[in-house]
């Protein structure tokens, strides 16, 4: 029997790792992947709650999250490709022309 809190803790750890990835890595693709990791961690938490409290709302939300994540990845990667065309690099540190 696994306590619910273990799953939530795991979710938190994965989420933190994903946040770290967003902050530390300079490769735009790795950052994107870290974002997907974070989403995944949230999905895990949802499903754990859906199981614990015996209703399906959590699963349905996860369903939607996955759909939206897919859409987002499509657009995001298209963006990165477009940026690569002009900047010839996917290092986010080189995309600082909005500096003030």
């Amino acid at each position: 029997m696994v306590p619910e809190t273990y799953y939530i803790a795991l979710s938190a750890i994965l989420f933190t790792i994903g946040a770290l990835g967003v902050l530390i890595r300079r490769n735009a693709l790795i950052i994107f992947m870290s974002v997907e990791l974070m989403l995944n961690a949230a999905n895990l938490a949802f499903v754990a709650f859906a199981n614990t409290y015996e209703h399906l709302n959590g699963q349905i939300i996860v369903f939607f999250v996955i759909a939206v994540a897919a859409a987002e990845v499509a657009v995001g990667l298209a963006l990165i490709v477009a940026i690569f065309k002009s900047k010839r690099s996917i290092d986010v540190d080189q995309m600082s022309s909005l500096k003030g």
Partner: protein, 174 residues
């Protein structure tokens, strides 16, 4: 120490290791593959949590479509190592620090006040039937009909967006 717990711990370890691997790997392809492992373990977790449909959706969409897309783009744009960065020296330590703080807060949140003593319900044969699937579909198309339709439009929009963004301008050089 039941089987579920052992299974959970092992899978958790794998999952976290994969995540850390994705984080630390300098090679983008390796990172993508680590992430695939992570997604797979998470899918197994979904199964353990009695959500088979979600587990399949995870494998199909996430590990199958999304990571393939990632690998396509990685191959396209270059998985080579980036030059070591010279800016933001405070970024890394501060990020780690804040992440630690975040984790501590999360721990406190869960275990500090009114810790839940609920246990998850392991899946049984009774739950792994098509009935749960049917129930999922029914809820989806009745209570959540609007989000469902909107999501479909969203996917359409994303597709259009992706095409527009990568369309070659007239006369533009490759």
């Amino acid at each position: 120490m039941s089987v579920d717990l052992i299974l959970f711990l092992v899978l958790a370890l794998v999952s976290v290791s994969a995540a850390i691997g994705m984080l630390l790997s300098q090679n983008a392809v390796y990172s993508a593959l680590f992430l695939v492992i992570n997604f797979a373990t998470v899918a197994v977790f979904y199964l353990l949590l009695g959500a088979p449909f979600i587990a399949m959706a995870q494998i199909t969409v996430y590990a199958g479509a999304i990571m393939v897309l990632f690998l396509f783009v990685i191959m396209l744009l270059g998985a080579e190592k980036l030059a070591p960065g010279k800016v933001l020296p405070y970024q890394r330590p501060m990020a780690i620090g804040l992440a630690v703080v975040l984790m501590v807060e999360a721990v406190y949140l869960m275990l500090g006040r009114n810790p839940s003593v609920a246990m998850i319900i392991p899946p049984t044969d009774a739950t792994n039937t098509v009935d749960t699937m049917r129930e999922l579909g029914m809820t989806l198309f009745s209570d959540y009909l609007l989000p469902f339709e909107v999501t479909s439009i969203l996917l359409l929009v994303a597709m259009i967006g992706a095409i527009v963004l990568t369309k070659r301008e007239k006369g533009e050089q490759e």
